[in-house]
């Protein structure tokens, strides 16, 4: 079993995504990456054996990303 545990890999990926979001300058790309984060968290929940929570996380992840993107039109897109 050469590879690491699935959950560990996904968690490492999540940590990587968080670091990218923190360092990213473009807010639109941060929002899109956040959608990827949410998707990845959904897969993690399925691995842990929680399909209900995964379903909700998928749906709610999409909706909160829509909010972020839509509200970007008012707030400025580039951050310092």
């Amino acid at each position: 079993m050469g590879i690491l545990l699935i959950e560990a890999v996904l968690l490492l990926f999540l940590i990587a995504i968080t670091i990218v979001i923190i360092l990213d300058k473009d807010l639109l790309s941060s929002s899109i990456i956040y959608c990827a984060f949410s998707f990845c968290a959904m897969v993690l929940y399925i691995m842990v054996g929680a399909p209900d929570v995964a379903f909700t996380e998928a749906v709610i992840g999409v909706i909160s990303t829509t909010y972020f993107v839509v509200s970007l039109r008012t707030t400025d897109r580039w951050c310092k």
């Binding site: 560990a8 968690l11 999540l14 923190i22 842990v48 054996g49 399909p51 909160s64 970007l72």
Partner: protein
């Protein structure tokens, strides 16, 4: 490699979740942009939710839907954390919705959502105008 796997399987997952949680909190504290603080807040809440779910996990337990084959308590994963975490996810959506609404009002009033600009504008503010309240 399996020694690492065993360690990971038992405690490693917790450690990585803790890293994710504090990274989210660190992101909230450090990022100057308010929008990014909101995103990091959501990440932090996802980390808490995942930590809760790990508590209820059982080796060899299937998803908590009662099937004919499995009958005993050891065959299913503990359903309680899942029920609780549904609530936590919905709460996190509500909070980020309200946060975004506040963000839009801040952008209109202060012209930017960067921490430094807002602090400068806030200091420049003379006595707060009395009646802009709802």
């Amino acid at each position: 490699m399996d020694a690492v796997n065993i360690f990971l399987a038992e405690k490693g997952i917790y450690m990585l979740t803790v890293i994710l949680f504090f990274l989210g909190m660190f992101g909230m504290a450090v990022c100057g942009n308010y929008m990014k603080k909101l995103i990091c807040m959501n990440i932090m809440q996802v980390a808490v939710i995942f930590f809760f779910l790990c508590l209820g996990e059982k080796d060899g337990g299937t998803i908590p839907v009662a099937m004919e084959g499995a009958a005993g308590a050891d065959d299913y994963v503990n359903p309680l954390p899942h029920a609780l975490m549904l609530t936590a996810i919905v709460v996190s959506l509500g909070t980020s919705g309200v946060g975004l609404a506040l963000l839009m009002r801040i952008k209109e009033k202060f012209g930017s959502i960067e921490e430094e600009d807002i602090i400068e504008k806030e200091k420049g503010e003379e006595a707060d105008e009395q009646h802009d309240y709802q």
